[in-house]
């Protein structure tokens, strides 16, 4: 179980890197991250985590509702 959590976390991390890289980096005339790109990556990470948290909260609620309805 613990191993699985670790794996899920690492997968989330690599998905996040991929997603934010793809969204934020479109200029390959330089090999260094511009400050604009860097800000974009930070916001992207921040927003993605908040998004996931909110989705998780709603997911749990819906699941609980569904459970309740099922046991009636």
């Amino acid at each position: 179980i613990e191993k699985k959590q670790m794996q899920d976390f690492l997968r989330m991390y690599s998905n996040l890197v991929e997603r934010c890289f793809n969204s934020c980096c479109n200029d390959f005339t330089s090999k260094a991250l511009s400050s604009k790109e860097e800000q974009c990556v930070l916001n992207c990470t921040d927003k993605f985590l908040k998004h996931s948290e909110r989705v998780g909260a709603r997911f749990a609620e819906q699941n609980a509702d569904a459970m309740g309805a099922g046991s009636k």
């Binding site: 969204s23 908040k50 998004h51 819906q62 569904a66």
Partner: protein, 100 residues
């Protein structure tokens, strides 16, 4: 019904097969959750990333997106049930949707 249609877990001791099944179910829920996160991110989050917080519109969109996703999940499940899900999946359908 819960997301996977398993509202009531039968009581009983721990045996390896049951643990295996629980892990499989967990895998499945993780898979669905990740798809939900990705779909709602695509539908609701602007790709410009001008700020790190969710704005009001994004937040409301996420709530509705999750609701609709659950509804779609339910409709697809019902449809699969009425279709018998074809020859190959028939047995599996039985057991997965028996409690919906």
């Amino acid at each position: 019904m819960s997301f996977l249609g398993r509202g009531n877990t039968p009581a009983g001791g721990v045996n390896p097969e049951r643990v295996e099944m629980a892990l499989q179910e967990l895998d499945m829920i993780t898979d669905v959750f990740n798809k939900l996160v990705t779909s709602c991110h695509t539908k609701c989050i602007s790709a410009r990333y001008a700020e790190g917080d969710l704005n009001k519109g994004e937040s409301v969109c996420i709530d509705r997106c999750v609701s609709k996703f659950f509804e779609v999940n339910k409709k697809v499940g019902e449809k699969l049930q009425t279709m018998g899900a074809g020859a190959a999946g028939a047995g599996a359908t039985q057991s997965a949707f028996g409690q919906m």
